[in-house]
């Protein structure tokens, strides 16, 4: 996990940042953490715990997706964007509770 699910609500609830800036800023802030994490998973044990081929295929789709998603976000008003984030949190929260 990069930590975006913690960084976005923290900014909105405690720093009173609007949802658009919170989402954009969170995405920038998780990059170094993910880098360190990935390096630990790759070099931290006897066998690399990273499937590079699978990651490359995922990235092929996710880079296009992230660009489209980020462009789309600017068109969504603050209120529905917050609702979408809250709904995703509920779904993920329930998943973690039921099937940890």
């Amino acid at each position: 996990m990069g930590g975006g699910f913690a960084l976005v609500p923290l900014q909105v609830l405690f720093a009173r940042v609007d949802q658009h800036h919170a989402n954009g800023t969170s995405l920038a802030a998780i990059i170094p953490g993910a880098l360190v994490g990935a390096l630990v998973y790759y070099f931290g044990s006897a066998r690399p715990q990273v499937d590079l081929r699978f990651a490359a295929l995922l990235v092929l789709g996710s880079m296009v997706g992230a660009y489209l998603g980020a462009r789309l976000m600017t068109r969504i008003p603050d209120r529905p964007l917050r609702m979408a984030f809250a709904v995703t949190m509920v779904l993920v929260g329930l998943k973690e509770l039921v099937a940890p």
């Binding site: 609500p9 954009g24 802030a29 990059i31 992230a66 809250a86 929260g93």
Partner: protein
Amino acid sequence: MRDLLTVATGLLVGVASGILGVGGGILLVPAMTLGFGISQHVAQGTSLAAIIPTSVVGAVTHDRRGNVLRRAALFMAIGATAGAVLGAVVALHLPREVLARAFGVLLLFAASRLWPRKSETVSP
């Protein structure tokens, strides 16, 4: 076919990542373990690797539209990276299920606080 599905999964998670401002690890890991039968550890490592270019593209796109608070991003990045190291140490000493359930409760609570109130006006 499996490769095509992998790219399609990436595309979907990427869109969610760009809209919601999350790396997508929380969506990628279950997709990989449940959908592709990858072990939990490799799924976590691979998702972290996939998050890097995804977040870079998302963050650059957001930044071009002025939606990145650069100073805040820098400080949060330092905090989050330090937190990740601490978290990894804690995770080694606590069962995964306990951590996941605690995280689930925290998410549900935060979601209830995040839901916009009727009277609330959000400052830009």
